[in-house]
């Protein structure tokens, strides 16, 4: 099973995992790391490194970060230069993305799973009212 690490600002990752578990049940092999207001990038990097070292085998780890370009994401980009670590990074995590990751990580190879999350991401942002306009009262 692919290990999952959620990296975010503040408590977003914890809350996201808690919501996902209410949908798909309690999960093993997930680490959540939140960047606090007083954490330096180096301190945070150390915590992410420690989490990734636990899953540095051939199966690897999937890191989901809250925002492209944010510190949690940037720290992971720095760690990607370390050949001892084996992980994929996907940015813009949200509830459907995490649920899909949890549901598919038992059998999908890491790179394929990471690509699936990116391919599926556009479908999580929709305008359902546009599709339903025939059923809505006139504006």
């Amino acid at each position: 099973m692919i290990g999952i690490v959620l990296v975010s600002h503040g408590g977003l990752g914890n809350e996201l995992l808690s919501c996902a578990e209410s949908v798909v049940g309690k999960q093993a092999n997930v680490r959540v790391l939140g960047l606090g207001p007083s954490d330096s990038p180096d301190t945070f990097e150390g915590r992410v490194r420690e989490a990734l070292e636990a899953w540095s085998g051939p199966t690897g780890a999937l890191v989901l970060s809250d925002m492209m370009g944010g510190t949690p994401c940037n720290v992971c980009l720095r760690l990607a230069r370390d050949p001892k670590l084996h992980f994929e990074l996907v940015t813009g995590m949200n509830l459907p993305m995490l649920i899909t990751a949890l549901a598919n990580r038992h059998y999908m190879p890491l790179a394929q799973l990471a690509q699936k999350l990116v391919d599926d991401a556009a479908r999580s942002a929709q305008r359902p009212l546009q599709k339903l306009r025939d059923h809505l009262p006139p504006a």
Binding site: V23, V24, G25, K26, A103, Q126, L132, H135, L136
Partner: protein, 163 residues
């Protein structure tokens, strides 16, 4: 028809059903048995958007769904039926819907209800109705999700038989 799940859930189609159950029981069709949803094309349309394209969906009034369950027109399709309340399911059973087991998956808290778990709170009438299902030999499962523990409904609502 293999009826793979008959569930009572006041949220009808939502995350736990689509992400939690659908995959595990591999249902090919969902039948929503609910008068209000069947009368509201907007709600029906929203449900269609929430269900994967490859899964068929019928949103029917309870009586029509009951008739459909009795005539069983689905061949070998794996079917999940969802009821919005204990009363609706009890009505279907009363009218002859063949349900050997029932998943009491989500009846949420409100006035006049006794809460046993975060997802199960029953009124006195509902406890009576569930006790009556058990007397008919219908097995009642209390899991919100397939991975949850199936705590016996009599343990959750010990006063059920005398309610």
């Amino acid at each position: 028809m293999p009826l793979v799940l008959a569930r009572i859930d006041d949220r009808l189609i939502h995350g736990q059903v689509v992400e939690g159950w659908l995959r595990v029981i591999q249902a090919q069709r969902i039948v929503v048995a609910n008068d209000r949803a069947a009368a509201d094309p907007l709600q029906g349309g929203l449900m269609r958007l929430a269900v994967p394209d490859e899964v068929a969906l019928d949103v029917l009034p309870v009586d029509a769904a009951t008739a459909r369950l009795k005539e069983n027109p689905w061949g070998n399709e794996r079917v999940m039926v969802l009821f919005g309340s204990v009363a609706d399911l009890a009505r279907a059973v009363e009218a002859g819907a063949p349900l050997p087991q029932v998943n009491l998956g989500g009846v949420h808290d409100g006035p006049g209800r006794t809460q046993a778990t975060p997802h199960l709170s029953l009124t006195v009438e509902e406890k009576r109705a569930v006790a009556s299902l058990l007397r008919r030999g219908i097995a009642v499962d209390t899991r919100s999700l397939p991975t949850a523990d199936n705590v016996p409904v009599r343990t959750l609502f010990p006063d059920m038989e005398t309610a």
